[in-house]
Structure formats: C-alpha cells, structure tokens
C-alpha cells in the first residue's frame, strides 16, 4: 500500500465524552466531514496517512515517466502517458482531501522535500527494462488496489470520496500492466526472460508495500477503530499473494519463492516474507533510488517556482485590469 507505518497519534486530553460520541458515530458507519469535531489525533494521523499516500502518487510518476520516451510502440506510449497523468490526478485528489484537515498543499510538498513526510518504499526501486512497466502495473498497482478498495469505506468523507475516484481509474492501471506482462511472457525467449526478471525484482518489494506484520505494529488497533485502516497488513498481503500466484502461473512465470505452497487448511498460499531489514533500510532513505527520487522532486519544485509565481502575478494583473475597466 502507499501508506506504510502510519503511527496513530494519541487522542490527547480532550474531553472523553466528545471522543466517545465521535467513536460511536464511526461505529455506526457515519462519515466524518471536515467541519465536524474530531480528536486531534484522528486529524493528525489522517494528515500523515493521506499526505503519504498523495506523495506516493506523485513520486510514483518518476519510475514510470522514465519509460515514456522509450515505450516500444506509439500505442504503449500513449497508454503510459495516460497512466502517469492519472497518478498526478490521484495525488491531487488526495492533497485536496488532506487540505480539508487544515494543512496546505504547499506545506505538504515542503514536508516531502525536507523528508518530514514519507512516500511508499516501492518507488525507491529502479525501473530497468520495459518489462518493469508491466511489473509495476500488475504487481505494484495490484498491491495498491488491495488497500485502496477497502479505503473507499474509510470514516473520513473526503478521503473516502477520493478513494472511490482513484479505484475507478486504478483498475485500468493494473490491467495495462498485466497486458504488458502477457505480451512479453508469450513473446520471444528474450522477452520472456525480461518479464521473469522484472517479476524477480518486484515481487518482494511489492510484498513490502503492505508493511510489517500487524503483530509488530502498535498503532494498528487505534487506526482500525477510527476506520482509517480497514484491514490488517498480513491479511491484505495474503490476499494479494492468493490472487497473484494463479496470474503468474497463467503467464508461465515463476514467483521467486521456493517455499511457495498451497495450504489447503488455511485455503491460501504459504509464502516467504520479504527481507524486513531491507524494508527499514529503504524507509530510512537508503534504497537504490531514494536520493534520485527526492532530487527529482526538489528540482521540479524549484524549477516550477517561477511558473507558479508568474501565473499568480498574471492572474492578479488581469483581475486589476478588469476592476479598473469596471470602475
């Protein structure tokens, strides 16, 4: 998922009666809207989670943008352009949802750039071949959907509404990824090897997207009570593996896990977890592309400053002229 390791902020010392009434509203399935009273912890946790999700959409454009100019056909190129454009839109929907909680988009951007806020670990891995566009759509978007579909029912209204729009568009992303994999897996032996290699590199980082085991997370319980987190990390990871393994079999590709076995008793696959040492290292900033990603975002922000200022100045000038003409 795009939001990992979201800590629950403590409710603070607000009067418990209000907090209890708030919890009852959530338990009754009511949506919380921006102007409603909410515990400070709920507000702060949501800003962090939605912000991290938004940043992931934006940073997530980079590994795919890398292949726009090198897509193998014009059709693939237009599809990839559309997908990357969607990611920008998803980021925007989410920033707007977070803004209703009293933080500005520019503030959030600055928190990303000075590393006070994070984005998903997955986007710190490089996209080395065209097959990676397939693996990213199929596995990364596939994993994201596992988390995003239940979030359509999250308790915070603007977040839930953003997720509904995102989910509608996200299934195109996963399908186009699978389509790339399908073509390559059934292509020349070299193309097949390329697809296998992409799966080999993206499998474990995709499993990491769900975050560490819930048993190790002290924040899950509060976030689940608030309906900010809808499912356990292990539960979603299992679901993802169970859905993805048959798809890999269809493609004639091998999941890089020798321990992978169907377990009749639990009605799901037994599989090896990722290397959590690597995960925490990537989160800390030491993944293969962390520095490159942040540098690209900082450059875009700095290089775009004159454009943001210029458009604002132009708008002010036009407004002043219109006011003068009307006077």
């Amino acid at each position: 998922m795009y939001a990992q390791l979201i800590k629950a902020e403590h409710a603070g010392d607000e009067d418990t009666a209000r907090a209890e009434a708030f919890q009852q509203r959530i338990d009754a399935g009511e949506k919380i809207e921006p102007k409603d009273w909410m515990p400070e912890g709920y507000r702060r946790t949501l800003i962090r989670q939605i912000g991290q999700h938004a940043h992931s959409e934006i940073v997530g454009q980079l590994p795919e943008g890398n292949w726009i100019t090198r897509a193998p056909t014009l059709e693939r190129k237009t599809i990839l352009l559309a997908k990357v454009q969607d990611e920008a839109g998803h980021g925007l929907y989410l920033y707007c949802a977070a803004e209703t909680l009293g933080v500005s988009r520019d503030e959030m951007t600055e928190m990303l750039l000075d590393e006070r806020m994070k984005y998903s670990s997955i986007f710190n891995y490089p996209t080395l071949t065209w097959a990676d566009m397939g693996a990213v759509g199929w596995l990364v978007d596939g994993a994201a959907i596992m988390n995003q579909v239940p979030l359509q029912r999250t308790s915070f209204g603007p977040y839930a509404r953003a997720m509904i729009r995102i989910c509608k568009e996200e299934s195109f992303h996963q399908r186009q990824g699978f389509d790339i994999m399908n073509r390559l897996a059934n292509g020349t032996p070299e193309q097949h090897r390329m697809a296998q290699n992409a799966l080999d590199r993206f499998w474990y980082p995709s499993l990491m997207m769900f975050g560490p085991s819930d048993a190790e997370s002290v924040h899950s319980e509060q976030n689940m009570a608030w309906k900010i987190k809808m499912n356990g990390n292990d539960e979603l990871r299992q679901k993802f593996v169970d859905l993805t393994v048959p798809q890999a079999e269809y493609l004639g590709l091998t999941i890089p896990d020798e321990t992978l076995r169907w377990n009749d008793e639990k009605g799901g696959y037994d599989f090896a977890g990722p290397d959590w040492g690597e995960f925490f290292d990537v989160i800390k900033g030491n993944g293969p592309c962390n520095r490159e990603r942040l540098e690209a975002r900082r450059k875009a922000w700095d290089d775009g400053a004159w454009m943001r200022d210029g458009l604002l100045a132009h708008a002010e000038k036009k407004a002043a002229r219109a006011a003068k003409a009307a006077a």
């Binding site: 520019d106 729009r165 708008a315």
Partner: protein, 102 residues
C-alpha cells in the same frame, strides 16, 4: 472546503471547488477541488483533472472561500423537523388497488 486559510508565508494559488454536469441531463455535481491562480485556469485544470474519461460536458468552478456552509452543530434544528412529517412522501397514502397505478 471548510478549512482555515493556510498559514504559509508564500502566497498559494487559491482553492476552487469544481462542479461538473454529466452527459445525461443531470445537474452539475460537486466533483472535487483544485488550486489555480484564477477562474480561467481553474476551468482548464478541472478539464484535465476531472474529465479525462468523458465524465462531463460542462464545468463550474467556484472559489472555495465563497461557499457558505451550514454548521454541523445545526444538524438538529435544520433536519430533525422533517422526521415526523411522513405525510410529505407519496408512500404515506393508501390508494385502493382498484384505482391502479397513481
């Protein structure tokens, strides 16, 4: 909507609420929000962000700070009076079967 002005020293593009009318004669519906320097740019951005899949045929943009919203604490006085007025719904009235559809 419904947030305090951001406490940023640098000016930020104002927030606009976007309303879009779909193809089938429905009214404009709130779709989301976006930042833009003025109304003209807000329309252009709304076109890019919210109508990439033929979602609409008409766009309205409204400065978010121009919207006045009812207060959540007024929920009771505003909406509770409707609760005991079931006679405002057609289902309140029993029409004899012999009459047929009405």
């Amino acid at each position: 909507m419904g947030m305090d002005a951001p406490t940023n020293e640098k000016p930020e593009w104002p927030l606009w609420e976007v309303f879009i009318r779909g193809q089938h004669g429905m009214s404009h519906r709130h779709f989301g929000s976006l930042h833009a320097p003025n109304a003209e740019m807000a329309i252009k951005a709304a076109r890019d962000v919210y109508t990439r899949r033929k979602e609409g045929v008409s766009i309205w943009v409204v400065p978010a700070n121009e919207i006045t919203a009812s207060s959540p604490s007024d929920k009771g006085p505003l909406y509770e009076p409707a609760e005991d007025k079931v006679y405002r719904h057609p289902s309140f009235y029993k029409i004899p079967d012999d009459i047929g559809a009405m």
